[in-house]
């Protein structure tokens, strides 16, 4: 043999000698509490990285105000490039050095890390991704997870019923991403359509890597749909609208809450976004409560101007964490923090969202959207069509 395995016996000895270590309270000192964030700062979903940057900026604001119980927030921000493998490495790094992880983005990232979170008892606050990731887990494994994110199926069911009502049509078209996001939404959309006596005549999917959506636009036109529901990224939604306009097809547009940032949508789709209906789960630019947060975040990190929607999300992620830390008291432990979070009821981040309700039974504290309508492209306004509609929590 040209190459031998050296020290196999020693390796076996090392295998047997593995030990576990435990720190007192990870990430907590007398003067600091370390909050970990892993997000897509680069890669295909880098636009969502702004949420992490906004969280970092808002944490600086909290520190300017004196921190929480005499401790400053120390943000450790890691890039995972939207790649589950890299996120696992980041979580491994943070599980013993950070007190909690806040605001992770991506269903695949959550799936790859859910066991690690359960086993290390690491609090995971406001992860952004499919609610079903944790809903499918046994209760004991989601004890440290606190999520406030609408369920795609519930939202789809609601949106299609509103579409039937507002567009006055029974012919619905569905444009979705070819993964769990699109698939869960279509389930709800079909359920809602049946309730409203309508029919999903066109079901068109795209791949995240697709850049040319002419075929999808043509398929949608041929289906004869009079209202189109969008469950896609902003780029793909705008791409579809442009291609549909090219072939002279202008159905009424209804968009999922992931497209709630109308500034981004107007920038990408121009006046094609005028009059579009969209769901929103949080406060928007132009509403006093949201404007207050946006002003704080963009003062600290001016780069975030023009991404106001993400600013609100990032700030709210920190706000709820601070609320939990405040309630947990000066004598901070992860267990105490979890108990404190479970006690949060009717919390609205000073009016930015509908009430958030956690309890020992329910860690999916927020499953609500409201319907909005975009105004003119020239002033990028939006008005509210329905108040917040609450769906039951999933875990």
């Amino acid at each position: 043999m040209a190459f031998r395995l050296p020290g196999a016996a020693l390796l076996a000895a090392l295998l047997l000698a593995g030990t576990a270590r435990a720190a007192a309270v990870p990430g907590v000192t007398d003067t600091e509490v370390t909050i970990g964030i892993t997000g897509p700062l680069s890669g295909p979903a880098a636009a969502w990285g702004s949420i992490a940057l906004a969280s970092e900026a808002y944490a600086k604001y909290v520190n300017e105000q004196g921190g929480v119980h005499g401790r400053k927030l120390k943000i450790v921000l890691k890039d995972d490039g939207y790649n589950p493998g890299r996120a696992v490495a980041n979580f491994n790094e943070m599980k013993d050095s950070a007190f909690a992880v806040v605001g992770t983005v991506g269903t695949a990232v959550l799936n790859a890390n859910k066991d690690l979170v359960a086993e290390s008892g690491l609090p995971l606050v406001y992860p952004l991704g499919d609610v079903q990731v944790f809903a499918r887990e046994p209760k004991a494994k989601t004890r440290t997870v606190f999520q406030a994110y609408p369920d795609y199926t519930d939202e789809g069911e609601f949106l299609v019923q509103e579409a039937v009502k507002l567009a006055g049509t029974k012919k619905i078209g569905f444009f979705g991403q070819n993964d769990d996001y699109g698939k869960e939404a279509i389930e709800g959309v079909k359920k809602g359509a049946a309730k409203a006596g309508a029919k999903v005549v066109g079901e068109v999917y795209y791949e995240v890597t697709d850049r040319e959506l002419g075929t999808q636009a043509l398929k949608m036109k041929e289906s004869g749909a009079e209202a189109v529901l969008l469950y896609s990224t902003p780029v793909h939604a705008a791409g579809l609208l442009k291609e549909m306009a090219k072939i002279g097809y202008r159905p009424k547009v209804f968009a999922s809450f992931t497209l709630y940032d109308r500034d981004t949508m107007f920038r990408l789709a121009g006046d094609l976004w005028e009059g579009a209906y969209f769901d929103a789960a949080l406060g928007l630019r132009g509403e006093p409560a949201a404007d207050k947060l946006i002003a704080i975040v963009t003062r600290i990190d001016p780069k975030l101007k023009g991404r106001e929607g993400f600013c609100v999300q990032g700030a709210v992620d920190i706000l709820i964490t601070v609320e939990g830390l405040k309630r947990a008291g000066r004598n901070l432990t992860r267990e105490g923090f979890v108990k404190a979070m479970e006690g949060i009821r009717g919390w609205t981040a000073d009016g930015v969202s509908a009430p958030v309700n956690f309890s020992p039974e329910h860690h999916h504290g927020y499953n609500a959207v409201r319907l909005m309508q975009a105004g003119k492209a020239t002033d990028a306004t939006a008005k509210q069509i329905t108040p917040y509609v609450h769906f039951p929590p999933h875990f």
């Binding site: 593995g18 990285g49 490039g81 696992v88 490495a89 769990d180």
Partner: protein, 326 residues
């Protein structure tokens, strides 16, 4: 330079006592990483080891046999999903790993058939088509990919209350050593010489008595076996599978790792894997600049060291061997 007196001696991995001692020390240091490194290094380390297995496989095909393939993500997916379904059905880890490798290897053997007629860019396009097709099948056939929930894979249970991260790291390291040793032996046996002959001139190789059909299919099968094992180890590591992880980008990453590491070099493959995994990790604090730095690093390596990191390593070794003479 030292004197090599026989082919047998030429093949020895580390010829001098000092080199052998350093190699053993280095490997021991890596095996002992859980006791001296930061915990997060275990995660990065495990990823490097499993990635290295795949890159070695890819290098056997591209570097040694000269068959350019852009369909590696397809074999990766086949290995990962075979492994996932077997584990869910209750198969033990080693069996599932082996079958995953064999399944991917069989797929590689089949995909190898076009390589009998196609060369260079044409083969690259054919294999690219294969990779895309596999991805689409997994993305759209829910019975295979586990549907919306994806495919959850139970974590490994470490023996005797051992810390799981440590166990996984050491297990992956041991597997990496095994597959590296096999690869070294392969390339220095008649198989490797057949591959090289095939790469340099297939007509000459055939005239020398090399069975081209067999050699090309074997190259695809072995390479895919390695890639399938990589897929299985990744599936076990992530504990969850979804088709998105196996898109075309993944095949390109492999290619980058092979080229940057050094074509036709087993240790180069390891360097390439380390580069592909660790550079984004080390540059993590530069945020948006990570892809730029990654791209720039590739450019620099290609311009100044066309043989890749393996070439740089060889030159460093030669320098110290001759030192203080030049």
């Amino acid at each position: 330079m030292d004197l090599v007196e026989s082919y047998r001696e030429e093949l020895r991995f580390a010829r001098k006592p000092l080199g052998r001692a350093l190699l053993v020390l280095g490997l021991l240091a890596l095996a002992a990483l859980p006791w001296w490194g930061h915990r997060s290094w275990l995660a990065w380390g495990s990823m490097v080891w499993l990635y290295a297995i795949g890159v070695i496989g890819q290098n056997l095909l591209i570097g040694y046999a000269g068959q350019v393939s852009f369909g590696q993500a397809g074999f990766l997916a086949i290995g990962a999903y075979t492994f996932g379904h077997l584990r869910i059905a209750g198969a033990p880890f080693p069996l599932a790993l082996l079958v995953a490798g064999i399944a991917a290897g069989a797929a590689g053997w089949l995909v190898g058939f076009p390589s009998l007629r196609l060369k260079g860019p044409y083969l690259a396009i054919a294999t690219l088509g294969f990779g895309t097709a596999v991805y689409q099948v997994f993305a759209n056939v829910e019975a295979l990919s586990g549907g919306r929930a994806g495919l959850p894979i139970a974590q490994l249970r470490p023996p005797g209350g051992m810390d799981r991260d440590v166990y996984v790291y050491l297990l992956y390291f041991a597997l990496f050593l095994l597959f590296t040793a096999v690869a070294y032996n392969l390339v220095s046996s008649w198989v490797g010489r057949t591959f090289v002959a095939l790469r340099d001139s297939d007509i000459a190789a055939e005239a020398m008595g090399v069975n081209l059909t067999r050699a090309k299919l074997l190259a695809f099968a072995i390479s895919s076996f390695y890639t399938g094992v990589h897929g299985a180890l990744m599936a076990q590591y992530l504990g969850h599978l979804e088709p998105q992880a196996f898109n075309v980008q993944e095949s390109l990453n492999f290619f980058v790792a092979v080229i940057v590491g050094g074509v036709a070099s087993v240790e180069g493959s390891v360097f390439g894997a380390a580069f592909a995994i660790l550079v984004p990790a080390l540059f993590g604090d530069f945020r948006w600049a990570v892809p730029v730095l990654f791209g720039a690093a590739i450019l620099v390596v290609m311009i100044f060291e066309p043989l890749g990191l393996a070439g740089a390593w060889l030159k460093t070794r030669l320098y110290f061997r001759m030192w203080p003479f030049r």
